[in-house]
């Protein structure tokens, strides 16, 4: 299992740590890799994923049962589409509670879908505890901490117990002057290639592309890790059965 059939959840119990940016990048990454992608926006308010990517991202809710059915039933069917979830901080707890109760990760695996959680690793106690909690509750999902370099140098590696060769995913910083160009919805990074990024000066455009390449490189590495983790577990299963 790799990105080709995966469900990636971008999550943090805290607001304003870069979840939506990461979810946007990931959705565009999949599109540029030629995959069908559907994104789910579990945020309220302004500047959400659905506003940035109106064609590929839809608003979702888990507040009531019909919302939960619309979301989770869709996630585990339609195996040929890669899914990205931008999990707003206010839905963090309820999302994982429901996911745990209904056996979401197990069901996804039955449909050959790998579940990965990109967790925004911040040094606060709330996040660290939520992360440890997730490792237990959703043990079958691949849990990858993400360091948003915009939030300062990583000084909390040891708080996120990194076992079994797992590595932190880095979200590099985009030069401050360029952020305003990518922060007005709707905006897709996939369109940048086509030169339709009006208003970005040429050198800025090159800089954004360079940044994008670094981000996509991180995603490709993550993809390989997912693949590797899956190979390892299938080898383990096979050696157990013999």
């Amino acid at each position: 299992m790799s990105f080709r059939n995966s469900i990636t959840i971008v999550a943090s119990p805290r607001p304003r740590v870069g979840k939506t940016l990461l979810a946007r990048l990931l959705t565009d990454f999949h599109s540029q890799e030629g995959r069908a992608v559907a994104a789910f926006d579990l945020n309220s308010g302004e500047h959400t994923l659905a506003q940035f990517l109106p064609e590929r991202a839809a608003r979702a809710t888990i507040r009531d049962i019909s919302g939960q059915m619309a979301l989770f039933d869709r996630l585990v069917t339609d195996e040929d589409t890669t899914k990205v979830i931008d999990l707003g901080h206010e839905s963090f707890e309820s999302f994982f509670t429901v996911a745990h109760q209904i056996g979401f990760v197990e069901e996804a695996r039955r449909h050959s879908l790998a579940v990965a959680i990109l967790f925004m690793a911040t040094p606060d106690q709330l996040s660290v505890e939520a992360y440890r909690n997730l490792r237990v509750r959703l043990a079958q999902a691949t849990l990858a901490p993400v360091h948003n370099e915009l939030l300062g140098p990583a000084q909390h590696r040891d708080k996120y117990l990194l076992g079994g060769g797992s590595v932190i995913v880095h979200l590099p910083v985009l030069a401050p002057g360029l952020r305003k160009h990518i922060d007005t919805p709707p905006f897709s990074f996939a369109n940048l290639n086509m030169g339709s990024a009006i208003g970005i000066p040429l050198d800025g455009h090159i800089e954004v592309q360079r940044w994008l390449r670094r981000v996509y490189l991180e995603f490709r590495e993550l993809d390989l890790r997912l693949l590797l983790a899956d190979l390892q577990s299938s080898i383990r299963i096979r050696s157990q059965s013999t």
Binding site: I65, S66, Q68, M69, F72, D73, V76, T77, V98, Q101, I102, G103, F104, E107
Partner: protein, 252 residues
């Protein structure tokens, strides 16, 4: 031969979820490979029969011929466990009938395992009923079931009163059926299948069905909790004492 077990599921009020509890019991024994049959006393058309048509027979417990159908076959039936869903209001009279035919006597002697699942209603009247039923039940395994499945305005009773009643009954055990999401419950109703089939995404004839994964997940989680309660009171050990105990009997 293992001794037969009879489980009465009853309440003096309707609409407290007797049949739901009976269904979870049938599923539970099914999961433990314990052959089970069921009698539905809501004649002529029983709800239990709709969910478990193969195992269930609709009977009238007040008629002698149907009593014979149930109790005279205990030893010969293939099923080791007999679950009887007693219609609202008939629990006391059924117990009376059991006492009259000497069934309670055989249960006392240990020839038959006998258990009563008394589903509690929301009103205080049920408390009086507990005391009364408990007297008739005698030495049976007596379970008081608080059914929260539909989360009715339940147990507004003051706990002190409840406990004073509860403690009076020797050996009574309490079972709690947790709440199940309304929509999930409703969908199982519509599907008319056992809870286990719903979880397994199967239709009435075992064919593949297309239930919502979320609703299946909720039912699985809920059923797991209910079975956890049955495990806690050691229901399986009760109806089919393990080999070890036989061995111990021989050795002792």
């Amino acid at each position: 031969m293992a001794r037969p077990a009879v489980i009465l599921v009853g309440a003096d009020k309707g609409g407290v979820g007797k049949t739901t509890v009976a269904r979870t019991l049938i599923d539970y024994f099914g999961a433990h490979q314990t052959p089970t049959r069921a009698f539905d006393t809501e004649s002529p058309r029983g709800t239990l029969k709709r969910f478990h048509p193969e195992l269930t027979e609709v009977v009238d417990v007040t008629s002698v011929s149907d009593q014979m159908k149930i109790f005279d076959t205990l030893g010969s039936a293939e099923a080791k466990v007999t679950v009887i869903d007693v219609r609202a209001g008939l629990l006391s009279s059924t117990l009376q009938a059991l006492s009259d035919i000497g069934f309670l006597e055989s249960a006392k002697k240990g020839q038959i395992t006998f258990a009563v699942f008394h589903i509690l209603g929301p009103s205080i009247a049920s408390l009086e009923e507990i005391a009364e039923t408990a007297r008739t039940v005698g030495d049976a395994n007596y379970f008081l079931v608080k059914n929260f499945i539909n989360n009715t305005t339940f147990f507004e009773w003051d706990p002190a009163t409840y406990n004073s009643y509860f403690k009076k009954i020797k050996g009574a055990e309490e079972i709690t059926i947790p709440k199940l999401n309304e929509m999930a419950y409703e969908q199982v109703e519509v599907a008319s299948v056992p809870f286990v089939s719903f979880v397994g995404n199967k239709g009435t004839k075992g064919e593949a069905a297309n239930y919502s994964f979320v609703l299946r997940g909720y039912v699985r989680h809920w059923l797991g909790n209910v079975w956890g309660e049955f495990d806690r009171v050691k229901l399986v050990d009760m109806v089919s004492p393990k080999m070890e105990s036989n061995v111990r009997q021989v050795a002792g």
